[in-house]
Symmetry: C2
Subunit: 366 residues, 2 copies
């Protein structure tokens, strides 16, 4: 292999794929990045056997070939080089990298030892092109409620599925739940995408990205963003029938300013650290306020109020961290907070008509 | 105690002193911040028995008094409140804090249990007013070479001392040494200031600070920056006679561009991780270059060059981290790098005439 690339392109590609190159599966070669000529391009790829990520960059190729190279060293080295062209040449499984006054040899491993990169069934008809901002928001709004408990794998992913003509994303860890409507669809989709995969896709979005192309086959999903490609396995299993958990109606409703609610929740959370985040939220129709009360047994206590439009009354005990996280992904100035007594879940949503996002939090025992 | 302060001033004061409030000495009350009325001001203070830091803020005082309060909770709480006035009131050793819709009670400890804040002998004549930029630079340039090995306490501080009519700062960890000339002085000074104290003073410098007033007595030093005051013990003992360690002349000299040297050192360091940072620096008078060579036994090797003006020739083995850190505090575009053979120390300094800073690094065995 012998070729020339630009430092800018090569460094960007190495940084993007390098995060996936980790030796979790116990195979040392997974710490390496695969470099392989592909027509007039250089393929730069890494895999951890669950996710494979590939970048293509333009290259002037004098001699085709392939090699794998330790990810961290080459990524940091190329990232530190000045802008301009970089010459790469393989001799005896070693990669010679030179750029101006900088000359390095990095010991590689032959590409034949690298796991084959996964391919997807291109004939699948389940595909979407999603605008980049919608994609980022929908993924951020749902991964936040996924579980990280690997004993229930189906809950460690986001459930992409069709329902009444729309594509929905949903995730739950058993304590909270989120659902986001994304686009209309005529396909019949039901796929659980691992949170790690979605996070990796988010990291591959740069300022030049305009949309994400998504293709599902039976067992895998592929994301394409410009010249980057990520293929991941899907989580095996059936997602629980979460819709039955969302209360159809609530007795108590409060409409509040989001920024004020964020501040009040943060302050209540400071005093709730010693009690597992427990804060009591009380809706008072006489004062037209929502108040949050928390007690740090040895340290003190806090009551913070905010103005609200109220229907009904009552109180509910919630985890302040869950409340903060829900508020952080609610894209609205004014939100509705509703519940029915101390035992059923509370719902947060925008007051916008036809809102596309619901966030549900189970109460704590109080 | 009953008074009103502004959120902005109170929050800034709490953040500034809160860093010192840690329970290192095993006394729980050292986790607390002391609040005490002082005429028309509120004193906000913390101490770890080595460093005491005090801030004065304006207050509308209805009833004088004092209380101590857990540092972390009050700092975070006040920091989260909206701008505006905050009412403080002590009843039964509890501090009631209220601001608009926010009401908290924080359990305190009576101020009598708090260690007495240190005072300094104001009659001492050893005092300096140092411009803020000079102070920041001189401290940053010297603390970097101080030791963190507590078995030799004198090396864990910066040696402030007079020599031939000037005040010098010097620090060494036995592997490297730095010396900075600061101002002219007629006093006879010899004081070792703990690195932690100097770091705390740096953190107290905000954009409104113009100078630092420094006062030494026999065993303590006091720094004043606007309304902040830090009093620290000095390190007991004699600083080694470091001047004899700085070579009077060098056989080999290279003048190089600093930014290029930074990049070359960084890259050489990537390949030197497995060899304890060891890089071989070679000065070549024929090619007019300085080259850095490093070997990562299993991973590969690197040679990077930069152009230089050369006198003499030879090579020396250095720790790339020490070299990087030295370059990070050298305030110059062009620097002189000099040494005499493989065994004596190398010196880095600006090529500016009458430069006020020397950085010395001992070679590694090669």
């Amino acid at each position: 292999m012998e070729l020339t690339v630009t430092q800018e392109n090569f460094s960007r590609a190495l940084s993007a794929v390098g995060r996936v190159a980790t030796n979790k599966a116990g195979l040392p070669i997974l710490n390496n990045i695969l470099l392989r000529t592909d027509g007039k391009r250089l393929l730069v790829a890494a895999t951890n056997l669950e996710i494979a990520t590939t970048q293509y960059i333009g290259a002037k190729i004098a001699k085709p070939g392939a090699i794998t190279i330790p990810a961290r060293l080459i990524t940091e080295f190329v990232g530190s080089l000045p802008k301009g062209s970089i010459d790469l040449k393989v001799t005896n499984d070693n990669l010679h990298i030179s750029s101006g006054h900088f000359n390095s040899i990095i010991n590689g491993v032959i590409a034949d030892d690298f796991p084959e990169l996964p391919t997807i069934n291109e004939e699948s008809s389940i595909s979407y092109s999603i605008g980049i901002e919608d994609f980022k928001q929908a993924v951020s709004q749902t991964i936040i409620t996924a579980s990280n408990d690997s004993t229930r794998p189906v809950l460690t992913g986001v459930y992409w599925h069709s329902h009444e003509g729309n594509l929905f994303l949903a995730a739950t860890d058993g304590y909270r739940l989120s659902e986001r409507r994304l686009v209309e669809t005529k396909s019949d989709v039901s796929a659980i995408i691992p949170v790690q995969t979605l996070q990796e896709v988010l990291r591959n979005i740069n300022e030049t990205a305009e949309e994400v192309d998504i293709l599902f086959d039976e067992t895998q999903v592929r994301f394409r963003i410009n010249e980057a490609e990520i293929i991941s396995r899907l989580v095996d299993g059936n997602f629980p029938d979460y819709r039955q958990l969302i209360p159809a109606k609530s007795d108590t409703k409060a409409t509040v300013d989001k920024q004020e609610f964020v501040r009040v929740t943060k302050i209540a959370g400071l005093f709730a650290r010693e009690s597992g985040g427990s804060v009591v939220v009380t809706v008072d129709p006489d004062k037209n306020t929502v108040s949050l009360h928390s007690v740090a047994s040895e340290l003190g206590e806090n009551t913070s109020e905010l103005e609200a439009k109220i229907t009904g009354d009552g109180s509910i005990t919630l985890n302040s961290r869950y409340l903060s996280e829900a508020l952080s992904v609610l894209d609205t100035d004014t939100l509705e907070f509703s519940f029915s007594g101390k035992l059923s879940p509370c719902i947060l949503k925008s007051t916008k008509k036809d809102t596309n996002y619901y966030h549900v939090i189970m109460p704590l025992k109080s």
